[in-house]
Subunit: 346 residues, 2 copies
DNA sequence: ACACTGTGAGAGAGCGCTCTACGGCGCTCT
DNA sequence: AGAGCGCCGTAGAGCGCTCTCTCACAGTGT
C-alpha cells in the first residue's frame, strides 16, 4: 500500500511551503493567507494526499471514534455468546438506535465501533479498548437489568451515556423514556375504547422499564376506579408473551383488553387469542409498546406506544460528544415522552 | 484523563529495564529471559499500564479495525438516508452477518466500525476512512445491485470482501450462496409435496441473487416437465410480495404452490392468500428463502431455504484477514450450499 | 588461551502529525 | 525616525510506540 508513503512533508514540498502550513490548511486554521491556502489545496488535490489518522490521534489524543456497546448480563455458554449479536438485532429496536446514533455521528465525522459485552471477557475487551484510547467514549445499550458495565465505565472515568437508566447505581448520563406515562396512555386508550375487563402482560419486573410501564398502567386504572388488574410477567419475547396470555385466559376468560409491555409479546398475545377463538380487536383489544416493525407486520397491525428511539439515540450521541469535548462534566438524564400510535388491534 | 500519562517509559523505569524490553514483553517476543518477563509483567500490573493504540498503529501501520460497510445504491433524499440504517437492520439478515463477523473478529482482537454508504458523500467517507488508515480493510454488504463501492475499493487497492458477488465487475473477493441450488430445492420440495400448479414471486431481477433463485427454480421445474411457470417480480419486501401475489392470483386463481424468493415476501404472500380465502398449506403451499426470523414468527411458520449466513460472514471476515495479513493476494470466491428447513407452510 | 557463535538487553532513530515558540515583515503610532 | 504591534510562516520539539542495530556476556570449539 504505497498510499501511506504520502506525508505532509511531500505536500509541503509540492506546494513550496512548510509542513506546519499544510497542517493549518487541513485543520482550517483561519490565519493562513488565502492565496497560500489555495496553493496548498491544489497541491493536496494533485498528490491525492490523505492525512494519517494514527499520527494525528497520537498528538490530539482523540480517536474520533466511539464504542457502541450492546451489553448483556453474562452469557456463560459459548454458542449463546455467538448468537448474542443475532438475537440483539432480531429486535428492530437496536437497528433504530444504530440509525439515530449514526445520523448524529456522521455530521461530526465520528464513527461507531460495534462491541458486544455479553460476558466477562467481552466486557474486559470493551474496557481495554477504551483505555487504549481507541475510542473516546461509550454508548451503552443494556439488554438485561443489573448490567455491570455502567459502574465499571464510571469507575474508569470513561465518558459514557446509557440508553435507559442503569439498574446498578452509577454516575453516568442516560437518556430514557417516561415509561410510566406510556403505560398510562395504554390504559387510557383501552378505557376510551370502552374496555373494562383489562389485563396486562408485563416485561421482566427486574427491569426498570418493565416496572414503570406496569406502574403507569396500574396508576391510570386505579384513578379510573379499577385498583385490581390481572397481570402475568413476560420476558419481552414473543413466546413469553404467548405463555403469559395463556395463563391470563385461564383465570380470566372474559377479558376484553390487554396491554402487553412490548410488541413481540403483543404479537404472542394476539396469536394465543386467535387460537382460542377471540377476535382482535372485536372481542379483545390489544396494545403493544415500542412501535417496532412487528407492530406493522403483526396480524392485525398493533396499536402501540411509540418510543422516539431514533431521537433518543441521537440525543445520547450528542450528550456523549459534549462529555468528550468537556462541555458537559456532570452526569445528565434526558427523559422523552412516548406517543400512542393507533392501529387495527384496538 | 490521566490514564494516558502512563507510558512504556514509566513501566520500564518501574521494572528497571529499558523501554524496548517492556515492548518485547507486551508483544510476546520469545527471546526475553523468563525472570525479566515476570518482573516486567508485575510492573505492568502494578502500574495498570495500557499501551496507546495510536502510537502503535503509527509504526505498525495497522489499525486492527475493519470497516463493516452496508452499501446502498444511492438514496438522494435525506430522511431516506437517515432511515437507511433502521431499514437495513429491520432485516434480520444483517444481524446475522454482524453476528458472524464479530464471532470471527473477537478471536483476533480486531473490531468492526459500522458504516453506511447509501449516498455519494457517505461512500466518500468510507473511502477516506480506509485511506486514512483507520481501518485495514472493508467488509461490504450491498443492499442493491449496481453498488458502485466494490469497484472503487478495488481501484484504491483496499483489501475488501463482499457478501454476494458484486454486480459491477470488480476484482474483489466475495462469499456467496449457491442461489440456484436453493431455488431448485424449493421447486423439488413443492413437487415432492404433490403440488403441480406452481408460481413464484421473484426478487428484483437486476440482482444476481434474484435471477439465480428464479433460474434454479425454473430449471428444476423444466426437468420435471413443466417449462412454463407464472412469475411476478417483487422487491424483497413484505409489501412487494403481497402485491406480486395479488397479481399472480388474478391470472392463476387455482395455483397450489408458491416459491417466494425471500421470507418477508413469503409472509406477504401468506397474508394475501389468507385474505383471499386460501388456507396455507392445505390449499396453497408456500416456500420462502433465507430462514430469517420472520420465517418463525409468520403464520404459519415458513418452510424456507436457509442460507448459512453466520458461517458465510465468518468466512468473509477470515478471508479479509488473510488479505490484510498478505497471506492471500488474489481475489477469491467462496460459495456456500443452502439447506431446506421444513415448517408448517408446506 | 583465543576467536567464534549465540543469546538477550539497550540505545536510538524514526512513524506522521500537531502546536508552541519564535522570527521576519510591513504597518501604525508617537 | 524608531519602537511597537499585529500577521503569517517556519523551525523544531515532541506524542508513545516499534524495531533495527549494536553491544555485552556467556558458552563452545580448537
Amino acid at each position: 500500500m504505497q498510499r501511506q508513503s504520502l506525508t505532509l512533508e511531500d505536500v509541503a514540498r509540492e506546494a513550496g511551503v512548510s509542513r506546519a502550513t499544510v497542517s493549518r490548511v487541513i485543520n482550517e486554521v483561519p490565519s493562513v493567507d488565502p492565496a497560500i491556502r489555495e496553493t496548498v489545496r491544489a497541491a493536496i488535490r494533485r498528490t491525492g494526499y490523505t492525512p494519517n489518522r494514527a499520527a494525528r490521534s497520537l498528538v490530539t489524543r482523540r480517536a474520533e471514534t466511539i464504542a457502541l456497546v450492546v451489553s448483556g448480563a453474562g452469557e456463560e455458554d459459548e454458542s449463546a455468546q455467538n448468537a448474542f449479536a443475532a438475537r440483539v438485532f432480531a429486535d428492530p429496536f437496536f437497528g433504530r438506535i444504530v440509525s439515530g446514533v449514526v445520523a448524529f455521528l456522521r455530521t461530526r465525522s465520528m464513527h461507531p465501533v460495534l462491541m458486544f459485552a455479553e460476558s466477562g471477557p467481552a466486557r474486559d475487551d470493551v474496557l481495554a479498548y477504551l483505555r487504549e484510547g481507541r475510542a473516546d467514549g461509550a454508548l451503552v445499550v443494556s439488554t438485561h437489568a443489573e448490567d455491570p458495565l455502567p459502574p465499571l465505565l464510571a469507575r474508569e472515568q470513561v465518558p459514557a451515556v446509557c440508553f435507559a437508566r442503569p439498574a446498578l447505581p452509577a454516575p453516568v448520563s442516560y437518556v430514557d423514556l417516561a415509561h410510566g406515562e406510556g403505560g398510562r396512555m395504554a390504559a387510557q386508550h383501552l378505557l376510551d375504547r370502552g374496555r373494562r375487563r383489562l389485563a396486562t402482560v408485563t416485561g421482566p419486573l427486574d427491569l426498570p422499564a418493565g416496572q414503570q410501564r406496569l406502574a403507569g398502567f396500574r396508576d391510570a386504572l386505579e384513578r379510573a376506579g379499577m385498583p385490581y388488574v390481572p397481570i402475568a410477567e413476560g420476558g419481552f419475547t414473543l413466546d413469553s408473551g404467548a405463555a403469559a396470555m395463556v395463563r391470563l385466559l385461564e383465570d380470566h376468560p372474559h377479558l376484553d383488553g390487554v396491554f402487553a409491555a412490548n410488541d413481540p409479546m403483543a404479537q404472542g398475545v394476539c396469536q394465543v387469542l386467535r387460537e382460542r377463538g377471540r377476535r382482535v380487536p372485536q372481542d379483545v383489544a390489544v396494545v403493544g409498546f415500542d412501535d417496532s416493525s412487528v407492530a406493522i407486520t403483526c396480524t392485525p397491525p398493533l396499536t402501540t406506544v411509540r418510543q422516539p428511539v431514533e431521537e433518543m439515540a441521537r440525543a445520547m450521541a450528542r450528550i456523549l460528544q459534549e462529555h468528550i469535548e468537556g462541555e458537559r462534566t456532570e452526569p445528565t438524564s434526558l427523559i422523552f415522552e412516548p406517543e400512542l400510535v393507533v392501529r387495527a388491534s384496538t
